[in-house]
């Protein structure tokens, strides 16, 4: 178990280092396979850790320390991993879904010039995320947190010749940095108070802090979680992050990194439970985000951005679930979401790849006829996302909504948000599906698939031309490296939810009970559970029906509320708000300082520093005579000075 955990942590790092050392000596495909194998090895390690922990009777958590870096009294800084139910669950998700996505990348990134760098970054990211979830103390959690931010920046800006990608990477990094700062401050308060970096000690002594302090600590943690998970008010970076390659969006911005915030809340739940107000604010943030994101997703025209806002919305559900105290619900939704969201992204990637990097869904109608495998897998993912039984989303989403009932008046507000959110999910997801897949192929689709109209699984003789003019023969919908992960995830999205069906069988809740027990107030009665399930499913189906009516059969036209449409298309004007709040004042202050202070005051009166530096340099330059004798003179002079010093001091 312990060896398996260490293997899980370091295998992707070994992959990164191998690719970096290999450089251009290894082929691009080899780099891809090195990365994939390393993450699969990590998955094997995660399975080993899981099985090992399963066999243990006491599952409160084992900490295995490899190396102590600093030790001062009771304060120890160690390289250690924590093996407990929560961390093994995350390890399985991260390495399992990650392995499938890296395998998919081999096909997706084929032909890119800088493929090796991509795979090095992907392995680095998997290592960072594993460090985050496996880290045995607060310091390693912070290290992993920062490293995933770095990997995200590197991968969003992977196509660095595109200015939009660079801007998006910077935006993501800066917003995450804000969250990192608040979280680090919260950790510093904890560490200063408890004098130790270990989770258990820090959380236990948090009880001695005053309520205000605990509230502030929890608020700092929430800031970090909200930034990393793209919740309001720090959510504007996620849609822009779609500039990165699609597998990056699948791995980082759907399945793993953005869920780190939920993991953080579950990991630090003792702090949150002492700052119950803040925890409920977290739930409220989640509820608000899931509504806002769902609304914005209704008008998006980029296939990846629809799925990105869907991610934002679903993470809102996870925050809602964890915020009210149902940590297992939030983690379970994290798991199923990883399955179906990665599936949706990879399916979208198959479509994008087939249409030579076209991402506008208004041009994509009817591709389902030519890509049936993609169509059915995408449908499975969409149904799971909406929460239609027996797909996985049903099992994970409904308990979250049901757990809000017993909280009081705001519980009912959350409940309503959850139901409306399910309706919106149905609408935007199937708006996407109906616009892209069924029907007659559009002009663009026909152009890329030659003359074939109904079947596309045989080799295409006409051969679609890629945008780069290579004109490769495409057999089927994509190489097996892309189709197999999609298929596996489709199966998982369909059947993966069956491990928990409250209140009948609750494997996930029982598994996580030693480390993240559900609060009593978040456990609904079975009647509340059943009624909520029915309502949510009906809301989802209603959304599907509406989408079918508008986009599928086009019987009903889109209701036109002009102001609303503009508001949604501008994403509720968050970007403009931040621009006015932060950028413009900073720019104004700096230009004011330059114009009025520097040019009027500093330059005329102060010494011309530039000229002074030049003069001093000229003086020193005269020492450089270029003559050997001069340098020997300096030697002798130096010896004389040293001798003098020795004479005087001794």
């Amino acid at each position: 178990m312990i060896a398996a955990s260490w293997l899980c942590l370091f295998a992707p790092l070994a992959g990164t280092i191998l690719i970096l050392l290999g450089g251009t000596r290894i082929s691009r495909v080899a780099a891809g396979w090195i990365s994939t194998v390393s993450v699969f090895v990590a998955f094997a390690g995660a399975v080993g850790a899981f099985v090992g922990l399963h066999g243990e009777s006491n599952r409160a958590g084992t900490i295995s320390t490899a190396w102590t870096w600093l030790q001062s009294g009771s304060f120890k800084v160690e390289l250690s991993v924590l093996i407990d139910p929560l961390s093994t669950m995350m390890m399985l998700i991260v390495s399992g879904v990650g392995a499938l996505i890296v395998l998919y990348s081999i096909g997706y990134m084929d032909g890119d010039d800088e493929e090796r760098r991509y795979f090095a970054y992907m392995s680095l990211f998997v290592f960072s995320m594993l460090m985050l979830v496996e880290g045995g103390n607060l310091l390693l959690l912070l290290v992993g947190w920062g490293l995933v931010g770095l990997s995200s920046y590197l991968l969003i800006g992977f196509w660095h010749e595109r200015p939009s990608a660079i801007r998006a990477a910077k935006k993501a990094f800066v917003m995450n940095a804000f969250g990192d700062a608040t979280m680090a401050l919260a950790f510093f308060v904890l560490i200063a108070h408890s004098g130790s970096l270990a989770f258990s000690t820090s959380f236990a002594t948090a009880g001695q802090l005053s309520q205000t302090t605990v509230d502030l600590v929890a608020l700092g943690l929430l800031g970090g979680a909200a930034a990393k998970s793209a919740q309001i008010p720090l959510q504007t970076w996620l849609p822009d992050a779609m500039e990165g390659p699609t597998p990056v969006s699948a791995l980082i911005h759907a399945a793993t990194m953005v869920t780190a915030g939920v993991y953080l809340i579950a990991r630090t739940y003792p702090i949150f439970e002492q700052a119950r107000t803040i925890e409920l604010i977290a739930a409220g943030t989640g509820a608000l985000t899931l509504l806002v994101a769902g609304l914005i997703a209704l008008v998006q025209t980029d296939i990846k951005r629809v799925i990105a806002y869907s991610t934002m919305s679903q993470i809102g559900y996870m925050f809602l679930g964890a915020g009210v105290g149902g940590y297992a619900n939030g983690m379970f939704h994290l798991m199923t979401h990883a399955f179906f969201k990665a599936l949706l992204f990879m399916g979208a990637g198959l479509v994008i790849h087939a249409l030579a990097d076209e991402q506008d869904i208004r041009k994509m109608r009817g591709i389902g006829a030519l890509m049936p495998f993609t169509k059915w897998c995408f449908l499975a993912g969409a149904l799971a996302l909406v929460g239609v039984p027996p797909f996985s989303g049903f099992f994970s989403k409904d308990p979250i909504v049901a757990s809000t009932i017993n909280l009081g008046w705001y519980g009912w507000v959350f409940w309503a948000c959850g139901v409306v959110g399910a309706f919106l999910t149905g609408v935007y997801t199937f708006r996407l599906w109906f616009l892209v897949f069924p029907g007659e192929p559009s002009e663009l689709v026909r152009r890329h698939f030659g003359r074939h109209s109904t079947t596309a699984t045989d080799g295409l003789d006409g051969g679609p031309l890629h945008a780069d003019g290579q004109g490769t023969q495409r057999h089927g919908e994509g190489p097996w490296t892309m189709l197999v992960p999609v298929g596996v995830l489709a199966v998982l999205a369909t059947f993966g939810g069956w491990i928990q069906f409250p209140p009948h069988w609750e494997y996930v809740t029982n598994w996580l009970r030693p480390v993240a027990p559900t609060l009593a107030v978040a456990v609904p009665t079975s009647t509340q559970e059943s009624v909520t399930s029915v309502v949510v499913v009906l809301a989802g189906l209603a959304g599907i029906a509406l989408a079918w009516a508008i986009y599928g059969t086009e019987r009903v036209s889109v209701p036109g509320v002009p102001g609303l449409r503009r508001l949604l298309e501008h994403k509720f004007y968050f970007d403009e708000l931040y621009d006015a709040l932060f950028y413009r004042p900073a720019a104004a202050v700096s230009s004011l300082a330059r114009r009025d202070f520097e040019e009027q005051v500093v330059l005329p009166t102060g010494p011309d520093l530039g000229q002074t530096a030049l003069d001093a340099g000229g003086l020193v330059r005269r020492l450089q005579t270029g003559l050997l004798r001069t340098y020997v003179l300096f030697l002798a002079g130096g010896a004389a000075v040293i001798g003098l010093v020795f004479l005087v001091t001794r």
């Binding site: 270029g626 003559l627 050997l628 004798r629 020997v632 003179l633 002798a636």
Partner: protein, 102 residues
């Protein structure tokens, strides 16, 4: 020990050393610089022998012999350099030889 004490010898050695150092720092002819280096080495040798006699320890004389051997080797190589310089028609002038070229 008959005659002056070791302090006198040491002072004389210091003078020799200083004179040699002055020659190295001022003269431009490579050969004269080498000669001045020899003077410095001899000053050191004198100090060694003097203190060896003062302490009654033979190590000083051994060291002086080693210094002599090393000085001979260094002169050999240095003069070889001068010969090579002369053969390539380069100036035997420390100031001119400021670039390692050729």
């Amino acid at each position: 020990m008959l005659g002056p004490g070791v302090a006198w010898y040491a002072a004389l050695a210091g003078f020799l050393f200083g004179t040699g150092a002055l020659g190295v720092l001022i003269r431009r002819n490579v050969l004269i610089v080498l000669l001045s280096l020899e003077i410095m080495l001899n000053g050191a040798n004198l100090a060694l022998i003097a203190f060896s006699r003062h302490a009654g320890n033979g190590a000083g004389q051994i060291f002086a012999l080693a210094v002599m051997a090393v000085a001979a080797s260094e002169v050999c190589v240095g003069l070889g350099l001068v010969v090579a310089l002369h053969r390539r028609r380069l100036a035997i002038d420390v100031d001119r030889l400021s670039e390692l070229r050729g």
